[in-house]
């Protein structure tokens, strides 16, 4: 889980099918890659990039250039749930740091790391547009606002117990 994506479970035919949409929708490269990422365990592994390149005709190096530019795309393996903790100023001044610390302590990992069971990847992120209900975080596509260290820990516990999906 550390350096290499486990590609044995990734269906390259599915990757190719999604990538094939590029031909008719060249303006949707981002969403195509995001979708591929979601079926590849929250990352775009080397093998998938090769497939994408051959299907779309975009050189592999350009695909990597694209992936590495955008924070939401990753070539490194990540957990099933990506926890994005906003650290921008409006969140920061109403207690985002304390919330982030509580989440790190609860999971026993630092931002940038993935839990040993592969369930959670923790990331700091910049403003997620919930400033008027800060502090805020996202867990995959779900948003959580007005957090306190206590409510953040309860939330993580609920995810750990499978109570949220």
């Amino acid at each position: 889980m550390q350096n290499q994506c486990d590609t044995s479970t990734v269906d390259m035919a599915q990757v190719a099918a999604i990538a094939a949409r590029y031909k008719n929708e060249p303006d949707q490269l981002m969403r195509i890659l995001l979708e591929i990422q979601s079926v590849c365990g929250n990352a775009i592994p080397r093998e998938a990039a090769t497939v994408i390149s051959s299907v779309t005709g975009i050189p592999e190096v350009e695909i990597y250039g694209f992936i590495t530019f955008y924070a939401m795309l990753s070539d490194k393996p990540r957990g099933q749930y990506i926890i994005r903790m906003c650290k921008s100023a409006p969140c920061h001044i109403v207690g985002a740091r304390e919330v982030a610390q509580a989440i790190c302590d609860c999971l026993g990992i630092a931002p940038g790391e993935t839990t040993a069971d592969g369930l959670f990847t923790l990331e700091f992120c910049e403003c997620i547009g919930l400033c008027d209900t800060a502090p805020a975080i996202m867990i995959n596509d779900a948003v959580y606002t007005n957090l306190t260290p206590q409510s953040a820990v309860s939330l993580i516990r609920a995810y750990q117990q499978g109570g949220v999906c």
């Binding site: 995001l34 530019f69 924070a71 921008s88 100023a89 001044i93 910049e126 547009g129 400033c131 008027d132």
Partner: protein, 418 residues
């Protein structure tokens, strides 16, 4: 204080999954009226409204439309900037979640006026829950004949696609945004040429913010003078403000332009919670000026804010109380810019990192008086020499706090405070 809701007029007033409810409120009658009007007459109304771009730069909307309408080129585009990445702004999210049809209607009117048949909404990745709202609304509008071929039986055809951002603040800059839609890294282009003459795929492209576009249908329906009249005194129309930070009531509110910042903070925001005192306000988002508590008697509009040493931006107001360390906030902001600089040009890529290092040095008690001069010199170079607005504006928190919170710097420097 009573809000004046124009851009927010339909937010929460109808079920976004039901286009008929929007129509019952008068929805799409602005588009119907526009298609029977002369294009120049619409531009005249938009000019008369005094509407200035709501995404931060404040360029007059009617003038931009005029230029794109006049640009040579068969193929043109309308792009809605829904990237909303500026920390302390979340108004466009509220509009899109609560009233997607006004955005579609505004874009269609824009398309008719400038001569575009294709529109894009560039929506930031961080709003995944807005994608289905917009895409369902687009689908419903198409089914009802408000998008697609021969709208209202006219010879005008227009359709819209939603494109996703990828979590890069710089993609809010209009040319970086275009690069991103074209499937490239979001690095700003050199200007000129401006997007109005050479934008998406080299075609003339109109780029407007969400709030600018949703203000168009009521202007078309009621006239530019009607919209203009809502501003206080010499000011034109209204603006949405996002209130964040240490306030009792945070949120998104629409008021006449020219409304006083102090009133907004105390009468709408309710002041600082917990009996704390106001220490300062960052105006205009992360790249805006930070002012102190003595400076807040400002009529909120673009030119008044600049004249008073504040920043209007997209109407972003982040308040902090007297328990906060101003330099810690500045450090946080410079971390943001160091991280979000795209790296294409040196003043911004290197400059933000150096500013951050110097702020950290001073916070650690290792700063000297000479470092304050370096901060100022470096900031000036960045403002003058950076390629895009990110690097040009990112020193604002540093420059403004050096002016408005100078003692906070001096107190950390040996021999600073005499």
């Amino acid at each position: 204080m009573q809000e004046t809701r124009i851009a927010l007029r339909f937010v929460g007033q109808y079920d976004t999954a039901c286009v008929n409810e929007y129509c019952a409120l008068g929805g799409y009658s602005g588009l119907r009226k526009a298609l029977a009007m002369d294009k120049n007459a619409i531009i005249q109304e938009v000019n008369a409204s005094g509407l200035r771009g709501c995404g931060g730069a404040g360029f007059p909307v009617g003038r931009k439309w005029e230029m794109v309408a006049a640009a040579e080129g068969g193929n043109k585009f309308v792009v809605c900037n829904a990237d909303e990445g500026e920390p302390a702004t979340n108004k466009d999210r509220v509009i899109m979640a609560g009233d997607p049809h006004s955005l579609i209607e505004g874009m269609a009117i824009a398309g008719y006026v400038v001569g575009a048949s294709k529109g894009y909404i560039y929506l930031r990745y961080e709003y995944p829950y807005i994608f289905p709202v917009l895409e369902n609304a687009i689908r419903d509008a198409r089914a009802a004949g408000f998008l697609g071929d021969h709208i209202f039986g006219s010879d005008f055809s227009f359709d819209i696609s939603v494109v996703s951002g990828g979590g890069a603040y710089v993609c809010g800059e209009e040319t970086a945004l275009l690069e991103s839609i074209e499937g490239k890294r979001g690095e700003p282009r050199f200007k000129p040429p401006y997007p109005g003459t050479s934008g998406l795929y080299g075609c003339p492209t109109l780029i407007n913010n969400v709030e600018s576009l949703v203000t168009i249908p009521p202007i078309v329906l009621n006239g530019g003078a009607w919209y203009e009249s809502f501003g206080l005194g010499e000011h034109h129309g209204t603006k949405i403000f996002t209130l964040s930070g240490n306030l009792v009531n945070r949120g998104v509110f629409e008021f006449p332009r020219g409304t006083n910042l102090r009133q907004l903070i105390y009468e709408v925001g309710g002041g600082c919670p917990g009996g704390r005192q106001l220490q300062g306000v960052q105006t205009g988002g992360a790249s805006g000026n930070i002012i102190n508590a003595n400076m807040i008697d400002i009529p909120l509009d673009i030119d008044d804010c600049s004249a008073a040493g504040a920043t209007f931006g997209a109407g972003d107001i982040m308040v902090f109380d007297d328990s906060k360390d101003v330099l810690e906030i500045v450090e946080n902001l410079m971390e943001f810019f160091s991280h979000e600089s795209c790296g294409k040009c040196t003043p911004c890529r290197e400059g933000n990192t150096r500013l951050l290092q110097l702020i950290r040095k001073i916070r650690n008690g290792e700063g000297t008086l000479a470092d304050l001069d370096t901060l100022e010199d470096l900031s000036e170079t960045m403002m003058d020499c950076s390629l895009c607005g990110l690097g040009q504006a990112s020193p604002s928190p540093v420059v403004s706090t050096l002016r408005n919170f100078r003692n906070d710097y001096l107190s950390k420097i040996e021999g600073g405070l005499k």
